[in-house]
């Protein structure tokens, strides 16, 4: 449990620039896996889909459903690649920590990148910033600004606070779920490694918890994409 992160503090002599190398590694691994999956799934595409292509098309329909439940498909189609990539990346990232946790020496190298608040908050910030960007782009600066004083002008401060709280909750929700899952898993691993009795006692709950973590990983990826689309629709739809 008392593993340390492989930190690289004050990188390049810049005092505020710290790297957690395990995060960097895992982000790279997750991105690579998603990219390879995406590319292999879309090689040899046929008009009558088979196997993996079927799965990817199901995924597209799934994300389409999420977007469609929040906004008009005419504007929503713009966000399909974003939703797909977010979902695939977050799901794969969540799964990485469920399947294995790798420790080298005292340093925790292999884990979910999404079990780090900085990373989830980065994604959340990206989403919220994108929602503002598309709000200005699709509705124009005037309409976008008016959105802050609707339905009543005195709501302006709350609207501004809402933007930040949205970002925080979106990021921390994902982080909290995944981090908690990993803590419990590592506790169980420590217990199982403690002795024969510990192994017997811990293996069954561990299997159950891994199954549950897989479920949570899926649900959190779904929720993240869902909320992304909700925030987007707040900014780009006319009826809000």
């Amino acid at each position: 449990m008392n593993h340390e992160a492989p930190m690289w503090n004050d990188a390049f002599g810049i005092s505020w620039l710290d790297f957690n190398l395990s995060n960097v590694l895992m982000m790279f691994v997750a991105s690579l896996i998603v990219f390879i999956l995406g590319v292999t799934a879309t090689r040899n595409m046929k008009r009558f889909p088979t196997g993996f292509q079927n799965f990817m098309e199901w995924l597209i329909d799934f994300i389409k459903g999420i977007i469609g439940s929040n906004m008009d498909w005419r504007t929503g189609r713009l966000f399909l690649p974003l939703g797909l990539t977010l979902f695939a990346y977050i799901f794969v990232a969540n799964m990485l920590g469920v399947v294995t946790n790798g420790v080298v020496g005292h340093e925790l190298w292999w884990k979910s990148p999404t079990a780090d608040p900085g990373i989830t908050l980065t994604l959340a910030t990206l989403v919220v910033v994108l929602s503002h960007y598309y709000g200005v782009k699709l509705k124009g600066g005037k309409e976008y600004s008016k959105g802050f004083i609707r339905p009543l002008p005195f709501l302006l401060p709350f609207k501004i606070i809402e933007e930040f709280s949205n970002t925080l909750t979106l990021g921390l929700r994902l982080y909290g779920n995944i981090y908690a899952g990993e803590i419990l898993l590592s506790l169980l691993v420590t217990m199982a490694a403690g002795g024969v009795g510990g192994f017997l006692g811990a293996s069954l709950p561990m299997i159950a918890w891994m199954g549950f973590s897989t479920f949570i990983g899926f649900i959190q990826a779904f929720i993240f994409v869902m909320l992304t689309m909700v925030y987007m629709s707040h900014k780009v739809s006319d009826d809000h």
Partner: protein
């Protein structure tokens, strides 16, 4: 900085600016690459399939209409043919009836004619026979009379008398 964030709930690794930058860069790169290599082709394929299906439905609709039209034409054709056949049979029946009547008529006429000619022949024969009989009776009478009243009458008186009798006999007939 590190110590401070770690003391907060955020725990684990704290907020590392480097991680954030790298996450942002990785994610944007991933978004661009997947959009180009995975989602783009996949969505194009799905679009193409939608078009294909719509096209096929249109074609099916068209060929169904075509088939219906052809069926209608065929049934009309069949109806016409049936009417024609009916007419031909009717005509044949009419012609046959006409011929039958003609044949009967001509047969009747023929038989009438034959009967007529037979009657005429019979008449002629009868007349001829009567003539022959007359002549014979005359000569026989002459013979009988000559035998009966030989010598009492002259040849001339005799002749006169005979013809008188014969004429009377012819009138009584």
């Amino acid at each position: 900085m590190q110590g401070f964030t770690e003391s907060l709930v955020l725990g684990a690794g704290g907020l590392n600016i480097g991680d954030m930058i790298i996450q942002l860069v990785f994610f944007l790169i991933l978004l661009a690459l997947l959009g180009k290599f995975a989602w783009g082709p996949l969505m194009n394929m799905m679009k193409e399939r939608e078009d294909y299906v719509a096209n096929e439905i249109n074609t099916a609709e068209k060929s169904r209409e075509e088939a219906q039209r052809m069926q209608r034409e065929a049934s009309e054709e069949l109806k016409k043919t049936r009417q024609d056949a009916q007419k031909i049979i009717e005509d044949a029946r009419k012609t046959a009836g006409q011929q039958e009547r003609d044949i009967i008529e001509s047969a009747r006429a023929e038989s009438e004619r034959m009967k007529e000619s037979a009657r005429q022949e019979i008449e002629q024969e009868k007349e001829k026979a009567v003539q022959v009989l007359k002549d014979q009776v005359a000569s026989m009478s002459v013979m009988i009379a000559s035998k009966v009243i030989e010598k009492e009458l002259s040849e001339k008186d005799q002749e006169k008398l005979i013809h008188q009798y014969i004429d009377e006999a012819g009138e009584e007939r």
